[in-house]
Symmetry: C2
Subunit: 222 residues, 2 copies
């Protein structure tokens, strides 16, 4: 496992690349944790958090709304969440965006972390502390900057992704390589098939380098 510390303006995140999803509990603080995930991820991996209270939202961009945030707030109240509750978002960019935003506004901010289950969210969406939802067709118009305490990037969960989702992540990795790293670009050229086949060591190397590049940008931008 590789651990990268990403510093934002107000806090920092630990990005844990290569950690297996089944080990997530050792990264949780003491006390109550509530999982926020989507139907698909819950079906595929819900066995790992069967003993935790969970809130399951719909899949897709259409669920990245203030209405979904309100549904989650309702459920948090039903589950007796309080200021000490930890929120764990498990999914791709949409789940993590909505979970991070809701955690940030519930009781003026709960602690939260993510397990990123798509290649795109592992290399992009979960890094940089941008949370938010869409509003009447305006993308990400409502949100906050707030860093998750940790982001677990498990290469093995990428195996359940559709090919298109791998391509979306790969495009972002290529972008990072083009912006910042000629050596990485050469490695990509040689290993693009291994990446598409989700060779674990290739995925881990590329996700790590991508997070380093993106977090360097985050450090400079904030």
């Amino acid at each position: 496992m590789t651990s990268i510390k990403v510093s934002g303006e107000t806090a920092s995140s630990e990005i844990l690349i290569g950690e297996h999803i089944s080990n997530f509990k050792k990264h949780l603080p003491d006390g109550k944790t509530i999982v926020i995930t989507d139907k698909n991820v819950n079906k595929l991996y819900g066995r790992y958090w069967i003993d935790l209270p969970s809130i399951v939202i719909g899949r897709g961009e259409g669920n990245k709304t203030l209405e979904t945030a309100q549904l989650i707030i309702n459920k948090l109240l039903e589950l007796n969440a309080d200021r000490s509750t930890f929120i764990l978002g498990i999914g791709g960019g949409i789940v993590c965006d909505v979970a991070g935003f809701t955690a940030s506004i519930f009781m003026r901010g709960l602690r939260f972390g993510f397990i990123s289950t798509t290649l795109l969210s592992q290399v992009d969406a979960s890094i940089g502390g941008k949370n938010g939802v869409n509003f009447k067709g305006f993308k990400n118009i409502v949100g906050v900057f707030n860093q998750p305490e940790f982001v677990i990037c498990d290469p093995t969960v990428l195996k359940t992704l559709e090919r298109k989702e791998i391509s979306n992540g790969l495009a972002e990795i290529v972008k990072h390589a083009l912006i910042a790293d000629a050596e990485m670009f050469g490695f990509l050229e040689k290993n693009s098939n291994n990446l598409l086949d989700l060779d674990e060591s290739v995925v881990q190397k590329l996700v790590t380098r991508s997070v380093e590049i993106k977090s360097g940008i985050v450090n400079r931008d904030e």
Copy 2:
């Protein structure tokens, strides 16, 4: 005018006690400002911001909701607010709570300031960076910590308050005096009638001391 700097965790506010409401424009940054106020305050003082775009919400605790925040977001979009827009909340605790919260989540946070028009918000609600709204009967369950850049506390606008609103503010001032300042408590005992009559120098002295006490608490708490 007395200026007190209140430091929070992420930013600091300037509390301007004794500044007249008619002078607010000299405290605004360059660029577009949008006013958020309530019907009553707009009727009484709207002549001062007749040339600025404004969003007018209803009066009272029943308007301190996520629905009102959504109405404001809608209006901000209609008024073409962007990341450089400054939000000025003008009113009591409810207006400032809703305005501060909406400013904090619109486009991941716009800059904002307040003109506090009630005694209670001058000595309490606007200090400390707590913003938020109620949700299904739960008070302040949705919100963020975020400091306004400035809070203008004009003693002359208190003259349009109902007696009950003066008493609410006075109760808070007494609380601050009891917690922290025996000398202030003596001054209060001697001058409570002058305060109820809104003698400007007495109001200014008591609001200043109250803000100092409250902001000391803020500095220690955050």
